[in-house]
C-alpha cells in the first residue's frame, strides 16, 4: 500500500503547486477579463475583437487617473468557446483572479448565462461584485424581460438593428418576397422574430418565403441552404449570421448565383467582404454601428491607423468596443472609484460623445445603449479601410439618428438598495 501513500504525496504536492502560481496573480489595481471564443470555429472573430478591446483598454483605461490614483489594468483573456458552460467556468476563474469587469462579445446564449451567473454572484458576494459589459450578445431579452442591473449592453440590440434594417428594405418598393436565415440559438431566433414582426408592421405586403434556422458553427457547406433561397425566389435575404457562418453562407449564396439582395447585420468584416467580392457590389446592405468608411472624425481615423499599424489586417469594425471602454472610463471618473456598484450607478444615463463623434446614452431604465446606427453597403470604391487587403469593405450610405432608433423596453430593473 506504499504505492497509495506515494500517490497521495504526489497528488498533494501537485495540488499545493496549484495554489502557488495563483498567489502571484492578485494584488492588481484593476482586473478586466475578456471572455470569448478564442478557439474553435469562431476563434477568428473572438481573437480579432479581443485585440480591439485590449488596444482600447490600454489606450483609454491604463494609466487613467481615478480619484487621484493612476489605474494599472491587468487584462485577462479567457476562452469561453461561445459556450455558456465554458464561459461560466471561465467567469469563475476570472472572478477568483480578481476580475471586476467582464467584457464579452459573441453569443447571446453566453450572454444569458453570464447575466444569470453574475446576478447570483453579486447577490451572494456583496463585497466582491462584478459588472458585465456586453458588446455583442444582442438578444433584446437581455435588456428586456431578463434585464439586470449588473449588465450593460454597449451595442444596439437585435430589435433596434432589425427595425432599421426593415426600414431600409421598406424603401425598395420592388421587394415582394423575403427569406430569413439565421443560426439556431437565442440570437438567431430573436433575429427571426424581429424580422417577422417589423416586416409585418412596416411592409405587410412582403411575403416571407423562408424562415430557416441552421446549427451554429457546424454547417460547412451552405449550398443546400443557398439552393433553398434560390428556389424561394426571394428578393431579399435577411440574416443575422456572423463569423464563419456568415463567410460560408456568403460563399454558397455567391456560388449559386442568386439575384436576391442580402441584408445583414454582420455581413461584413474579415473573410466576408473578401469572399463576397465583386458579385456583392450593390447587393449587400448592412445596418450596424460605427464609422469605418468614411471615418467620421480625425481622432477616429488616427486611432484606427494606430491600431492597424500594430495589428495589420485585424478586424476594426467593432467600434462599439471603444465606446464601451471610453464609457467605462467616464464612469470611473464620475463615480470617483472603480467599485462596480458605484460605477454601475454612474453608468446609468451616462451621456457622452464617442471617438467618432456620435452622441450616445446608456439608458438607465434597461442599461441599453442608445446609439445612432449606420446603413452601410458592400463597396469597392471610396474606401479608406478595406478588409483582408481584398480591396472590398463597407461604406456608410446613410445614418439613422438616435431619435429614430429608440424603442420601448419591457425591462423592470431590480436595483440594489
Amino acid at each position: 500500500m506504499n504505492k497509495f501513500k506515494l500517490m497521495l504525496l504526489g497528488a498533494s504536492s501537485l495540488i499545493l503547486s496549484a495554489g502557488l502560481p495563483a498567489a502571484t496573480v492578485q494584488a492588481e489595481n484593476l482586473t478586466i477579463a475578456f471572455i470569448d471564443a478564442l478557439s474553435g470555429p469562431f476563434a477568428a472573430t473572438g481573437l480579432g475583437s479581443g485585440r480591439e478591446l485590449k488596444h482600447a483598454v490600454e489606450k483609454f483605461l491604463n494609466g487613467k487617473e481615478v480619484a487621484g490614483e493612476k489605474l494599472e489594468v491587468e487584462f485577462l483573456e479567457l476562452d469561453g468557446k461561445i459556450n455558456p458552460k465554458e464561459s461560466l467556468v471561465q467567469l469563475q476563474n476570472a472572478i477568483s483572479q480578481g476580475a471586476k469587469y467582464i467584457f464579452h462579445n459573441s453569443g447571446s446564449s453566453v450572454g444569458h448565462a453570464l447575466v444569470g451567473a453574475i446576478n447570483k454572484h453579486n447577490k451572494r458576494n456583496p463585497d466582491n461584485r462584478v459588472l458585465y459589459l456586453n458588446y455583442g450578445a444582442i438578444d433584446p431579452a437581455l435588456t428586456g424581460s431578463k434585464c439586470s442591473f449588473w449588465h450593460f449592453m454597449i451595442d444596439a440590440n437585435v430589435d433596434m438593428k432589425v427595425s432599421a434594417l426593415v426600414d431600409e428594405i421598406a424603401k425598395d418598393k420592388s421587394v415582394k418576397k423575403a427569406f430569413i436565415i439565421g443560426q439556431d440559438y437565442s440570437f438567431g431566433k430573436a433575429f427571426s422574430a424581429a424580422a417577422k414582426k417589423y416586416l409585418a408592421d412596416k411592409r405587410p405586403d412582403i411575403e416571407i418565403v423562408g424562415d430557416q434556422l441552421h446549427p451554429i458553427g457546424k454547417v460547412k457547406d451552405f449550398t443546400p441552404y443557398a439552393q433553398k433561397i434560390l428556389r424561394s425566389k426571394a428578393d431579399v435575404v435577411m440574416t443575422g449570421n456572423w463569423g464563419a457562418d456568415m463567410i460560408n453562407l456568403a460563399k454558397s449564396v455567391k456560388e449559386i448565383g442568386t439575384e436576391a439582395n442580402i441584408y445583414g447585420i454582420y455581413a461584413y468584416g474579415p473573410g466576408v467582404s473578401a469572399v463576397v467580392g465583386e458579385s456583392g457590389l450593390g447587393k449587400l446592405s448592412i445596418v450596424t454601428q460605427g464609422h469605418i468608411n468614411p471615418p467620421n472624425t480625425p481622432e477616429w481615423a488616427a486611432y484606427t491607423d494606430e491600431f492597424l499599424a500594430k495589428h495589420p489586417g485585424n478586424d476594426m469594425s467593432n467600434e462599439r468596443t471603444v465606446y464601451g471602454v471610453q464609457m467605462l472610463g467616464e464612469a470611473f471618473v464620475k463615480a470617483g472609484s472603480t467599485d462596480p456598484l458605484k460605477v454601475a450607478f454612474a453608468l446609468e444615463d451616462l451621456e457622452f460623445t464617442t471617438i467618432s463623434g456620435d452622441k450616445v446614452v446608456m439608458r438607465g431604465k434597461d442599461h441599453q445603449m442608445q446609439m445612432p446606427l449606420q446603413v452601410m453597403a458592400h463597396a469597392k470604391d471610396g474606401l479608406k479601410y478595406d478588409f483582408d487587403q481584398s480591396g472590398y469593405g463597407v461604406i456608410t450610405t446613410s445614418s439613422i439618428p438616435l431619435e429614430n432608433n429608440t424603442l420601448e423596453t419591457s425591462c423592470e430593473m431590480q436595483r440594489p438598495s
Partner: protein, 438 residues
C-alpha cells in the same frame, strides 16, 4: 500451514491498517488544502474534485474493464442535467430536499441511462464498443440541441444551488462551502469506487478485460460483467455531473459531447489507467494545465497534446506509472541511491525543456505579436525575439540538453536497475500483479 495463515493474517491486518491511515491522510489533505489556497486556488481545487470523480469513474471502464469509451461524458452530462432539474424542482417549491444530496440524484440518473444504453452497447468490447459509444455520444449531443424541453438547447439549463432548504445551516453560498461540498462527494465517491474495484464484480471486470473467453469458460457472462462495470461507471460519472451542476449551476451540451468525453480519456490516460489513483493524478495535471498554464501561454493545448502523445509512446502506464516504477527501489531501501543520478539527469532534461519551449513560444510570439512588440517574457526573462541571439542561444540550449540526455539516460537507467535488482526476484511478480489490479 497454520504458520503461513498466521503470517497472512498479520499481513492482512497490517495492510488494512495502512489503508485506513491512507484514507485518513486523504481526508486531512482535502480538509486542509483549501485553507492554504488563494481564491483562484480554491476554484481550481473544486474543479479538481469534479474532474477526479469523473476520471475515476471513466477508469472503471478503461482501466479496470478494458472498455474504451469515446462517449462517457454522456452520463456525466445527463447526471448534470438531471441535477439541474432537481434544483429547479426544489427551488420552485417542489419538495424540500437539501441540495447537497443532488449528486446522488445525478448518479442515479446516470445509472439508469447507462443501463439503457449499456444493455446493447456492452455486447461487444474493443473497437465496436468504442464506436457505439462514440455514435451515441454524437446522437445525445445533437439531441441536446434539439430537445429544448429537457436540455435547454444551445443555452443549456441553469439553476440556483441556494434555493433549497439549508442542510444543517449549510447553504453553499461562498466558494469555500462549495469546495467542501465537492470534496466530501469526492471522498465518498473515491471510497465507493475503490471498494467496488476490490469487490468480486471489480475483479471479474479485470478478468474479462484480460481474457473474455477464459472468463466465459469459468461460467461468467462477459457481457453481464461489462454491463455491471458500465452501469457502475455511469453512476459515478453522473455523481460527478451532479457536483459540477452545483458548482457552476449550468449544464450544456458541451458537458456531454465527444470533446468532453475525449478530455476525460486524456486525463485518465495521462494519469495512468493501470492504477486506481492514476486518473486523479491525470485530473490534477489537466486541470492545472487548463487553468494555470492556459493563463500563461496560448499554446497550452499544444503542450497537452504533446504530453498525451508522449505518455502514450514513452510511458504507457502514465505519470503514476513513472512514480510507481520506484516502489521496488523503495522497498529495497535504495531510493536514496537514485537521487544523485536523477539530479544529474535533470540538468540536461531541464535544459532541453527550457530550450525547446522557449523556441516554440518565441515562434508563436513572432507569428501573433503586435507590430513592434518584440519583447516577450519567458522563464522570468525578457526576450527580444527580433534578435538572432535569442534564437541561437535557445537552439544551443536545446541541442546541448538533448546531447546531454543521450549521455545521462543510460546512466539513470543503470542506476534504476541497480536500485531495483537487489532483492527483486520474489517481489517482481507481485509487482506486476499489483500494477494491473490497482
Amino acid at each position: 500451514m497454520s504458520n503461513l495463515t498466521q503470517i497472512r493474517k498479520a499481513e492482512n491486518i497490517a495492510r488494512k491498517k495502512r489503508l485506513r491511515i491512507l484514507w485518513l491522510c486523504f481526508a486531512v489533505i482535502l480538509v486542509v488544502l483549501p485553507l492554504l489556497a488563494t481564491k483562484f486556488g480554491l476554484t481550481i481545487l473544486t474543479q479538481i474534485c469534479v474532474a477526479s470523480v469523473f476520471a475515476l469513474a471513466y477508469n472503471m471502464l478503461l482501466g479496470q474493464g478494458g472498455m474504451l469509451s469515446f462517449g462517457h461524458a454522456v452520463y456525466f452530462g445527463l447526471g448534470g442535467y438531471a441535477s439541474i432539474h432537481l434544483m429547479e424542482y426544489v427551488g420552485t417549491g417542489g419538495a424540500p430536499i437539501p441540495l447537497v444530496l443532488t449528486p446522488i440524484f445525478g448518479g442515479l440518473f446516470g445509472l439508469v441511462a447507462a443501463l439503457l444504453i449499456g444493455s446493447f452497447s456492452t455486447r461487444r468490447a474493443g473497437t465496436v464498443f468504442a464506436m457505439i459509444s462514440f455514435g451515441i455520444a454524437e446522437l445525445v449531443a445533437a439531441s441536446a440541441i434539439i430537445l429544448v424541453g429537457f436540455f435547454g438547447g444551445e443555452e443549456g439549463m441553469s439553476s440556483d444551488r441556494t434555493m433549497g432548504p439549508s442542510f444543517f445551516g449549510y447553504e453553499m453560498i461562498p466558494q469555500i462551502e462549495v469546495y467542501y461540498f465537492a470534496a466530501v462527494w469526492f471522498f465518498l465517491a473515491t471510497f465507493a469506487m475503490y471498494y467496488f474495484s476490490r469487490s468480486p464484480a471489480g475483479r471479474m471486470a479485470n478478468a474479462v478485460r484480460d481474457n473474455a473467453e477464459r472468463a466465459q469458460f469459468i461460467g461468467y457472462n462477459p457481457q453481464k460483467i461489462r454491463l455491471v462495470s458500465f452501469v457502475a461507471s455511469g453512476f459515478f460519472a453522473g455523481i460527478a455531473g451532479g457536483i459540477f451542476a452545483i458548482q457552476y449551476e449550468i449544464v450544456t451540451d458541451s458537458n456531454l459531447n465527444t470533446a468532453a468525453s475525449g478530455l476525460v480519456m486524456l486525463q485518465a490516460y495521462i494519469g495512468g489507467i493501470g492504477y486506481f489513483v492514476g486518473p486523479v493524478i491525470g485530473a490534477i495535471v489537466m486541470t492545472l494545465l487548463n487553468t494555470v498554464v492556459s493563463g500563461m501561454t496560448d499554446l497550452w493545448l499544444l503542450y497537452t497534446g504533446l504530453l498525451f502523445i508522449g505518455t502514450v509512446l514513452l510511458a504507457p502506464n502514465g505519470l503514476t506509472g513513472l512514480i510507481m516504477m520506484h516502489t521496488d527501489a523503495y522497498r529495497n531501501g535504495k531510493l536514496s541511491t537514485l537521487v544523485k543520478p536523477y539530479l544529474i539527469g535533470l540538468i540536461p532534461l531541464t535544459a532541453s525543456f527550457v530550450g525547446i519551449i522557449s523556441l516554440v513560444e518565441m515562434f508563436s510570439h513572432r507569428n501573433e505579436q503586435t507590430v513592434g512588440d518584440d519583447v516577450m517574457p519567458l522563464f522570468f526573462m525578457n526576450i527580444d525575439v527580433s534578435t538572432s541571439e535569442a534564437w541561437i542561444a535557445f537552439t544551443i540550449l536545446s541541442l546541448a540538453g538533448i546531447i546531454g540526455l543521450r549521455f545521462t539516460i543510460p546512466m539513470v537507467r543503470t542506476a534504476w536497475h541497480e536500485a531495483n535488482e537487489a532483492l527483486t526476484l520474489p517481489a517482481s511478480p507481485t509487482k506486476q500483479e499489483g500494477a494491473k489490479n490497482e
